[in-house]
Amino acid sequence: MSQQESLYEKLGGEAAVNAAVDIFYRKVLSDDRISSFFEDVDMEKQAAKQKAFLTMAFGGPHNYSGLDMRAGHAHLVERGLDDTHVDAVIENLAATLRELGVQEALINQVAAIAESTRNDVLGR
């Protein structure tokens, strides 16, 4: 009887995050609905943040609290960040996983984790 694998393990752990991060970030940068939020940011620092976000959404090890999420996005909320933008990010996340051949059931679990941060990200 093997121990039950976590979502992070099922997805392939850190290697899966590394495979996904560039694809995901390219989608986000090319998406006219949200790309303006990524103008004038240091791309390298942003890529590292995307990696931290994907690690969390994949159910991997992280230490983000709701408070961190609020503080990290407050300046974007001021610039008009709303539900439609969170929808766009979650869509891009799902499309990235589909491109990598991940099963829909697992994609739904990842999307649910991302979804759980929505209220904190939008500061409400």
Partner: protein, 326 residues
């Protein structure tokens, strides 16, 4: 017992403690966010000692080689002296004698410096050169250690530039200046010798690229090395003789001077350097990129290169920001 030394203070590392926990619990303001080795907010550098490999995971090769590490996942088993990336006092100022000054074109001066104490650098990094203790500017290194005896800089004269104006008009061979450095992570790292390299530079952005190219060739890089140097017109082009000699000498090296102004003679490409480069190499998957010079060019080219398939870790850039005080 492991000791972490930061800014002359010694801290004992507790059992199972990370360097981040050790420092922040004692009041050192190290920025952090994810605390799991992903977001790179807590980037630090070991100035003495070697950080554990696991604390360097996900960092660019040029940062690993300079002993940068992520403090939140760093559990060293031996002592480390550490600094934050923007701590300016990591290096002492070194006096250097000006050996020669020679114009490369109407606005760029080739400066060679002999440091009184040799500095350990990599081609493509930059140093700060001081006119007086409070007035210094960053210049990239075009020289290659072990190949060139002195440091080589290409100093472009800026309108109202205080330091560049002084270098062009007042500085003389034999005089002594102060330099501090090196710094920067835009340089060649050995390994993956067959990887293709695209180098795009505008103006004196050619300086680091000229160093990086010769460094890569001398280290036996076998993959294609393609240089695109951009300027408005023929007046801004320089080192063409030296670069064409390299083309004859190395079959894997290729040089395309690009002119964005109107008149484009034979042997030059028409257009901005990054546009020409991305037209010629539309798919940049698995290529290594070096982008140096005008900040707008660097920013645009970085994004385009990434969208054209280059991995973020393979993009090395140095934007030549002009100091606000000129």
């Amino acid at each position: 017992m492991v000791t972490i030394r930061y800014a002359k203070d010694n801290f004992e590392l507790g059992e199972n403690q990370s360097v981040l926990e050790c420092l922040t619990s004692r009041g050192v303001p190290v920025p952090f966010s994810c605390r799991s080795g992903a977001c790179q907010t807590c980037l630090m550098r070991a100035t003495v000692g070697t950080p554990p490999e696991i604390s360097q995971q996900g960092l660019k090769d040029s940062l690993k080689l300079q002993n940068y590490f992520l403090a939140c996942v760093c559990h060293p088993t031996s002592d480390l002296d550490v600094a934050l990336p923007d701590d300016k006092d990591i290096q002492a100022a070194v006096p250097a004698t000006v050996k020669s000054l020679k114009l490369l074109n109407s606005e760029i001066m080739h400066v060679t410096l002999e440091c009184h104490v040799p500095i350990d650098y990599r081609a493509g990094q930059f140093i700060n050169l001081f006119q007086d203790p409070s007035l210094g500017r960053s210049y990239s290194l075009a020289s290659v250690p072990h190949e060139d005896d002195h440091l080589h800089l290409h100093v472009r004269r800026l309108p109202q530039g205080r330091v560049s104006g002084w270098i062009h008009e007042e500085l003389r061979p034999g005089e002594t200046v102060e330099v501090r450095g090196p710094a920067g992570d835009c340089f060649y790292t050995p390994g993956n010798a067959e990887q293709g390299m695209v180098l795009i530079g505008t103006g004196s952005g050619l300086a680091p690229l000229y160093g990086i190219i010769r460094d890569a060739l001398s280290q036996g890089h076998t993959g294609p090395i393609r240089l695109f140097h951009g300027s408005r017109d023929l007046n801004g082009v320089y080192l063409t003789g030296e670069l064409r000699d390299l083309v004859r000498q190395y079959s894997n090296f290729d040089y395309v001077p690009c002119l964005s102004g109107g008149d484009v003679p034979h042997g030059f490409a028409a257009g901005r350097a990054h546009d020409v480069a991305f037209q010629q190499i539309p798919d940049l998957k698995n290529w290594r990129l070096f982008l140096c010079g005008h900040p707008e060019m660097v920013k645009t080219a970085k994004k385009k290169a990434f969208l054209a398939g280059a991995s973020m870790k393979d993009i090395y850039a140095d934007a030549f920001n002009v100091s606000q005080s000129s």
